[in-house]
């Protein structure tokens, strides 16, 4: 049997093919995450009347006549420098932490995000195949919700393992917030699936069929309330401003990652931005027509060009959405913890329930 497993693992070309695809997607995700950190720094600088990172350079890039200077001014080498800094810093292990869990927590924060990436469709090939890691899956959205919520275990574990007060408070807040907003999020998504899925459909929960249902109007036009609730909830799920309860650097000194440094902190950082990417991708796939170019205009061009334009429009929407995250962060002040709870339980949840009921009755009356 072991021989069989080894045979499958090492000799089967399919395994290498899958691994290569997985690596590609992870590399793409990581570079988008790195560059969204740059976007964060640049956009915050612009909003505050500053210039942002514009000094980092490498001799090889500085050597390019005009373009090298443009790259330096745009800070395009900054993410590499930041990453290297995280890698080469001393990886301190404080004496008072629970070591196993302390090391485990950053991995647990990042792993669920990478796993949920499996279900994400990016575009459509000319032959109708979907560009994704797991093409046949029909439970896409359920799987993504189930797995990406596990990211909070990383936060909770970090807060507990750090064995100090601020991280502990941050972790408690993080888990409470996640539980509160998960409900409203699920209900708002249910409304959309109620509309797009037909009763005898097999893959009703698949993100691909959700995108394919949006060749005409996008879901955001039919379900603005659900879209708004989902939007607020992904801000809360990704622990972004104004819902960055677990981190809240002004009152909790950095929250759950107060005791972390160097590469372990970097992993938390990447996990947060990957969470943003996954959340934005979900919103785009469910409400903004996925890889469709415009409402009532699903694709432009034919053959491989249609695919490329579709991919381009998906990533353009993703970039715009990431910018929106940043933009909101530098606009809205952080909610107080009790306000977060009140918005979650007493505002968003009732609205989501009423929204679901209204659509339910509407579709029931329609037949």
């Amino acid at each position: 049997m072991i021989e069989q497993i080894l045979n499958d693992l090492i000799l089967s070309p399919a395994w290498y093919y899958t691994a290569a695809r997985g690596l590609t997607v992870i590399v793409i995700l990581m570079s988008i995450a790195a560059y969204s950190v740059l976007l964060e720094r640049k956009a915050s600088a612009w909003i505050q009347g500053r210039v942002g990172p514009n000094r980092t350079n490498h001799p090889l890039i500085a050597w390019i006549p005009f373009f090298g200077n443009v790259l330096m001014r745009g800070g395009f080498i900054q993410p590499a420098a930041d990453g290297l800094k995280f890698l080469f810093k001393e990886d301190a292990l404080p004496g008072h932490v629970r070591k196993t869990f302390y090391v485990l927590a950053p991995c647990l924060a990042l792993a669920p995000v990478l796993i949920s990436l499996v279900m994400l469709p990016f575009g459509e090939l000319p032959n109708g195949k979907i560009i994704t890691l797991c093409p046949g899956a029909d439970i896409g959205v359920l799987f993504m919700f189930a797995i990406s919520s596990l990211g909070v275990y990383g936060i909770a574990l970090a807060g507990w393992a750090a064995n100090s007060k601020y991280p502990f408070l941050g972790a408690i807040r993080g888990s409470a917030q996640l539980i509160s907003y998960e409900l409203a999020m699920g209900l708002s998504v249910l409304t959309v699936f109620l509309a797009t899925a037909t009763p005898d459909q097999n893959n009703a929960l698949s993100l691909v069929s959700m995108v394919k249902a949006q060749t005409g109007a996008w879901n955001i036009l039919y379900h603005p309330v659900a879209a708004l609730i989902f939007l607020i909830c992904i801000f809360a799920e990704a622990n972004r401003h104004p819902f960055d309860m677990p981190e809240s650097e002004t009152d909790l000194v950095g929250g759950f990652h107060t005791e972390y440094g160097a590469f372990k902190f970097g992993l938390f950082f990447v996990a947060e931005y990957s969470h943003m990417i996954i959340g934005s991708s979900l919103f785009i796939l469910m409400f903004l027509g996925g890889w469709h170019v415009l409402p009532w205009l699903p694709n432009v061009g034919t053959g491989i060009f249609a695919t490329l334009i579709g991919l381009g429009s998906f990533f353009f929407k993703l970039a715009a959405f990431l910018f929106f995250f940043v933009w909101v962060r530098w606009t809205v002040p952080r909610f107080r913890y009790d306000q977060v709870m009140r918005i979650g339980w007493r505002v968003l949840l009732p609205i989501a329930v009423v929204n679901l009921l209204v659509y339910f009755i509407w579709y029931a009356l329609q037949g």
Partner: protein
Amino acid sequence: MAIKIVERRPLSFLEKTYLPQIIAGLKVTWDNLVKPPVTLQYPEERPVIPNGYRGVPTLVRDPQGREKCVSCQLCEFVCPPKAIRITPGEILETADNNHVEKAPKEFDIDMLRCIYCGLCQEVCPEEAIWLQGQYSMTGMTREEMVNNKDKLYELGGTLPDSHYKWDKKKAEAERQQNEQH
């Protein structure tokens, strides 16, 4: 004092949702985003130094190129952090400015000690030491941070003041000598 009671208007439904405020806030930040940055790219762009700025203390010459300092050492005595060190020197008999009493042989200002208080400028009877527009003193060693006499005159330049006190004094002395004869 009259008390004015401010009527607190209850929030409208839209205001209670908080969304119009967020959108207005987003507009404010967007307006700031498209504005040009207000910061200065420092080493390449330099700030405009206003007249009368009191930066690094320097020594000045008069329009005839004579060093104004007569090494009276008042600045050395008044300097609170003891940053100034002067070695007085005689002026040669043959020099054409030998009617001036003295000139500094060495004049060092330790910029690691200087606190830019300006007392040296205030106390100087010859208006020879001035705090001027130089605002950035940097160096890699302690020795580099000590401004010697050459450096001080290089930074100071010329004071456009055609009073020529010492020339007048010399002329007056010569006149009195002629009258005696």
